[in-house]
Amino acid sequence: MIQTMLSLVLRAVVVLVGSALVTFVLLWNAPGDPAMAIAMARFNAVVPAEVVDQVRAEAGLDAGFWPAFKAWIGPLLVGDFGRSSVTGREVWPDLVTAVGYTYPLAFLALFWGLAIALPLAILAASRPGSVLDRVCVAMASTGAAMPAFWLGLLLILLFAVKLAWLPAMGARTASHIVLPALTLALGVAASLTRIIRSGILEARDQNFLPALQRRGVANSAIERDHVAPHAAIPVVTVFGLELAFLLEGLVMVEVIFGRPGLGGFLVNAIDARDFPKVQAVVLLTAIVFVAINFAVDIFYKLLDPRMEDRDA
């Protein structure tokens, strides 16, 4: 147990430091002068060279790559995300506000995606090869091939422009979350439907099921006790990956729907070379990633105790 925890912490540290370093390298080497970008974002105008130099010194950009990296990561180790290079405001409160918009959207999308995928997959798997099954699979494939930005625009056209049922832009009321959540949920549902369907079909194909039937075990009990647990194993694996894709889709969907979440926060920060802000988002995402993977690992072992045995 202690060994598991240690290896987990070690993995987390490697992932976090690695992603922080890679982001820093990318931002540092991106075309254009970072100090110029920061100064332009700060004053919202073209600025003279002295001002740019002053900004460079302030942001610690004149000291070279490693000192700049150290100056940023040092306070972070004690939980200080630092201040924005552009506004000088603390990054942390703004980050929390953005997260407050983004994570409810993510969870809602995941929940709806699952709520759509589960019945669809069970329906499709009830008669493999039937017309119903093919329709479900075709829908799922179409959904998976459809990029979020296009689907989002289609939904805006239909529900906001044509039918005027739902608001399209912003996040003022609760109903503003419906369209972006639906956009993401449909993408999630598309891939989950296929995974759950094939999980169920594979689980139904196990060689010990006929013997259980011959033993007199009721079909409903076989489905519940022997098919469902086996079908859940691949689903849990993919669910973790699904969350990763979701984070990626979130940025785009938030920008399309004009939601003030992490997506907009990140895009603006990259535009202005606001290193502390970008890094904060990257780090937060990396932490969430590690946490999700950890949860999936634990859940996996609960579902399939054979894994535990192999680890030991």
Binding site: R215, D225, R306
Partner: protein, 227 residues
């Protein structure tokens, strides 16, 4: 009470897997169902089970390997309880203990899953599970072919001893005449979906009347097989 079924037959895509067959099995009978691979032994075994079930007879089935009988994600205790429920029986630890000791199953860790037990013990567990409902007939489908010879012989000895005190009849599906000649008094010989010969084990081994039986009997390897 003698069990009897008539008109068993199985066709798949117009091909005869099992020609119409009628059978009767006396209480305590020990019957070997033998034939080459693909001759329809297992099909007849399954059809027999289904037909007797339809008559309301309690029939148990033991498949070839414990992998085909146990869910690797479920504990041994779960399987046992599930088998009891399938027979609409309450949980009875005394009955479990009796069956375990009859089949030489160490009162092992029932919270373990199948892969935490040896294969021999798993198979004994499956046989014990089949005996929960005191079935009128137990059909064993090549029950020892997945075990090593010594474990296989032990397992069959224990089952033999247990059945001696019971009314349960046994049908042993096997292609192994050596096993059959030691364990059963009558043989049913299958060939290409037909039950071609039915006689005492001794008659078939010494005076086979059909080609299929003669072929099986001519394979003297059964004399040296240890179980």
């Amino acid at each position: 009470m003698t069990l009897s079924v008539s008109g068993l037959n199985v066709e798949r895509k117009g091909r005869v897997i099992l020609a119409p067959t009628s059978l009767s099995i006396a209480p305590r009978a020990r019957i070997g169902l033998v034939g080459a691979s693909g001759s329809g032994k297992s099909t007849l075994g399954h059809a027999l089970i289904d037909a007797l079930r339809a008559q309301g007879v309690v029939v148990a089935h033991v498949p070839q390997s414990p992998d085909e009988a146990l869910d690797p994600l479920r504990t041994m205790a779960f399987h046992w309880r599930e088998a009891e429920k399938a027979l609409c029986m309450g949980h009875n630890p005394a009955r479990r203990k009796a069956l375990f000791s009859a089949l030489g199953i160490a009162y092992g860790n029932l919270t373990k899953r199948p892969w935490g037990w040896s294969r021999g013990m798993q198979q004994r567990f499956v046989i014990a599970m089949a005996l929960i409902g005191a079935p009128a007939l137990i059909v064993l489908d090549e029950p020892t072919s997945a075990l090593d010879p010594v474990v296989a012989a032990d397992t069959m000895d224990l089952l033999d001893n247990f059945l001696t005190g019971q009314d349960t009849a046994m049908v042993l599906v096997t292609h192994d005449l050596g096993l059959a000649s030691r364990r059963v008094e009558r043989l049913w010989v299958m060939s290409e979906g037909y039950l071609v010969e039915e006689a005492t084990t001794e008659d078939i081994l010494t005076r086979p009347t059909t080609e299929a039986a003669a072929k099986l009997a001519a394979h003297k390897s059964w004399l040296t097989v240890p179980c």
